[in-house]
């Protein structure tokens, strides 16, 4: 075991949130070190440069770490869940393979208890975060159309990406129904900016964006951070966070380095940025006399209240080719007509209707993105591929999950990663409210597709959600004012350990029904701002 010089700030995880808070703290001139279990993704390793690029989606570029099984990945036991978490471990984190959809949470998402009597209110509100959403949008190069009536006013820095034939067709259907829709906000450049190339509409955002148009933190924050002197130590997997038993403060970590050895790294302040599965896993693995049930877990809520965004999809067969494989695969238009609570619907809160574009033939034949259910073989196969595939436009129902304590991340008693560190186990089942929402959403999506001119509508109708859809992992170390009912305070500081901060999706109090990364990064920038504001009394 070797020692390293102590640092002022130790960030664990080089993904969306770790990069954002490092950027925020740059001006403090503190010595910042980031430990990342993965590595940089070399330009030559992007599958989209290969002829058989789609195969990577089912191998070493799968979004599912249990399929991918790269050295830096840790296994996840999701046998007791109807949704399996997906991610990327490396510089950029899951912004490497996320789809770049960039909606914000809405004001009501922060006030679900007050407005709808469910879950808890956040200790921050939309308007407090709004400047940090704006700041982050500039940093990553967001594109979109100003004036969306589903939000208080804001203006994305770049114009929207093309909706495409598919998006325009669906938009006219929404107008026919009189329902809300808007061109999607995206973390994807619609024009060249700051040395990055605009989107070329490759349609394979999940395979990493070789052009750098997608605003992954590997292309946005990290080049700036490394130039500014932030040390990024890759292939460094943190085993546990250490605590000074005298002060009760965190004082460093043990990590497995690229050399295969265990190292100790001391730090004045530790920031966790491992997201909704990785962060509780590490806290639960960090036991001591002071914290026998896991670090920062006196509330017993570390790992509890896991929220995903359960998804289902409906597709319409139209009378002309929809060219759905051209353009960012999950981003065209978004309807929030059914986002807010309406008691007449039989459920509380709501969902979005996202117009995913189509996929390429192989992924479609295998059941679609995130689904392992190959389409029919034989004569039926010919019918589907010849008369449906090119003519499809689909809608994805993205529902708001409510926090429930039985949905959780724990440690698997047997499964470990390649360094012998206990792996996470997911226990998750759909709530009745979510099931009602999914049914309602599927019916509305069918209505919409017919209004848009679909001659046939294809749905799942089997009461199942997409399996490989655990992109959004939230709630497992939630924020709050009350230490008995939350893990961190209103600016991400652990109630129990005053120099331990959490900045990732685990601190979400509720999930909303939108992709969370824009909020994760806005929160990280906000927490960084609060750290700077409170620097004199930071650990009091």
């Amino acid at each position: 075991m070797s020692n390293h010089d102590p640092v002022d700030v130790l960030i664990i995880g080089a993904g969306a949130s770790g990069a954002a808070i490092a950027w925020s703290l740059l001006e403090t001139r503190m010595r910042i070190l980031c430990l990342e279990q993965g590595d940089h993704l070399a330009d030559k390793d992007y599958p989209s440069r290969r002829d058989d690029y789609e195969l990577a989606r089912y191998g070493d570029f799968s979004c599912d770490p249990n399929v991918r099984q790269r050295k830096q990945d840790y296994p996840i036991n999701s046998a007791d869940s109807c949704i399996t978490p997906v991610n990327w471990n490396g510089v950029g984190g899951s912004t490497i393979n996320f789809l770049g959809h960039w909606p914000r949470l809405r004001p009501s998402d922060f006030r679900t208890k007050t407005l709808d009597g469910v879950a808890e209110d956040w200790p921050v509100d939309y308007h407090t975060l709004a400047p940090f959403y704006d700041m982050n949008d500039r940093n990553i190069g967001a594109s979109g159309l100003a004036g969306n009536p589903a939000y208080p006013d804001y203006t994305p820095p770049h114009p929207p990406i093309p909706m495409g034939k598919l998006g325009r067709r669906l938009a006219r259907g929404f107008n026919e129904k009189g329902w809300h829709w808007w061109p999607s906000d995206v973390a994807i450049l619609s024009r060249d900016d700051d040395g990055r190339q605009k989107c070329v509409n490759a349609g394979t955002c999940d395979l990493g964006c070789a052009a750098g148009a997608k605003g992954g933190s590997n292309f946005t924050y990290w080049p700036i951070l490394e130039n500014a002197g932030v040390e990024l130590r890759t292939k460094a997997r943190v085993r546990e966070i250490l605590v000074d038993e005298g002060t009760g403060l965190a004082n460093g970590v043990l990590y497995h380095g690229a050399d295969g050895e265990v190292h100790e790294q001391r730090a004045e302040m530790i920031v966790m940025a491992c997201n909704g599965v990785g962060t509780p896993r590490l806290l639960l693995n960090s036991t001591s006399k002071l914290f026998p049930d896991g670090l920062a877990n006196r509330s017993g809520l570390v790992g509890k209240n896991l929220m995903f965004h359960p998804l289902t999809g409906v597709a319409g067969v139209f009378d002309e080719p929809m060219r759905g494989h051209e353009g960012p695969m999950a981003c065209s238009i978004l309807s929030q007509e059914f986002y807010e609570s309406d008691p007449s619907r039989g459920f509380v809160r709501g969902y979005g209707l996202h117009s995913g574009r189509s996929t390429t033939p192989m992924t479609f034949a295998l059941g679609g993105y995130g689904i392992d259910n190959p389409i029919a073989w034989g004569a039926a196969h010919r019918e589907i591929m010849d008369n449906q595939y090119e003519y499809l436009a689909g809608l994805t129902v993205v529902t708001e999950d409510l926090p429930e304590e039985h949905n959780c991340v724990t440690l698997d008693p047997e499964l470990t990663d390649s360094d012998g560190i206990p792996a996470p186990k997911i226990t998750y089942r759909l709530g009745d409210n979510t099931r009602a929402m999914l049914r309602h959403g599927e019916e509305r999506a069918r209505e919409l597709l017919l209004a848009a001119g679909a001659k046939q509508v294809l749905g799942k109708s089997d009461d199942k959600v997409w399996w490989r859809a655990g992109w959004h992992q939230m709630g497992t170390c939630r924020m709050g004012h009350d230490p008995a009912n939350s893990v961190v305070n209103g600016w991400g500081r652990s109630h129990d350990v005053k120099n331990l901060f959490i900045v990732d999706g685990s601190i979400f109090v509720t999930a909303g029904a939108v992709n969370p990364t824009s909020t994760i990064q806005a929160l990280a920038l906000y927490i960084g701002d609060q750290i700077k504001t409170n620097i004199e009394t930071l650990f009091d």
Partner: protein, 151 residues
């Protein structure tokens, strides 16, 4: 090829049933397209997959002595008798067939790697966006806010 000539002929016949040809669009069946080579390569690297396909081929041999006796009904029986193995073969067949650039292009998708070329997609003009979004804007705000929140 990891399998014998007889086994390969039988496999080709099964593959032709899984993805039949469409002569009108010059789309070959999977066996004729040579997907067996893709499967053989996978079997060389994956003993489990090799065993799975070999088992299916033995089962098919019990049902039909010669490759040309492979029928749709026989393949249905394979699916019914060994559903997990069959699903694995089916998925790998789809991968081997549709990952080929020459096959993608028959379904309207470019043969080229998607980077750096991508696809040309025209951005909607400001006028079209204004026309399309006008009914949405006309409805006014559709979000809820709390008067007490900072604004």
């Amino acid at each position: 090829m990891i399998w014998s000539d007889v086994e390969t002929a039988r496999l080709d016949a099964i593959l032709d049933e899984l993805i039949p040809a469409n002569p009108k669009r010059d789309i070959p069946a999977a066996g004729a397209a040579g997907v067996a080579h893709f499967l053989s390569d996978k079997a060389q690297a994956d003993a489990g997959f090799h065993a799975t396909v070999s088992s299916l081929l033995r089962l098919a041999a019990d049902m039909a002595d010669m490759a040309d006796k492979v029928t749709t009904d026989l393949v249905r029986q394979l699916e019914a008798q060994a559903p997990d193995d069959f699903q694995m073969l089916l998925a790998e067949t789809y991968k081997g067939y549709y990952s080929r650039p020459d096959m993608r292009v028959k379904f309207g998708v470019g043969a080229h790697p998607v980077h750096p070329q991508g696809y040309d997609v025209e951005r909607e003009s400001a006028e079209i966006l204004a026309e399309l979004t006008a009914p949405v804007v006309a409805r006014g705000p559709v979000f809820r806010d709390l008067p007490g929140d900072k604004q």
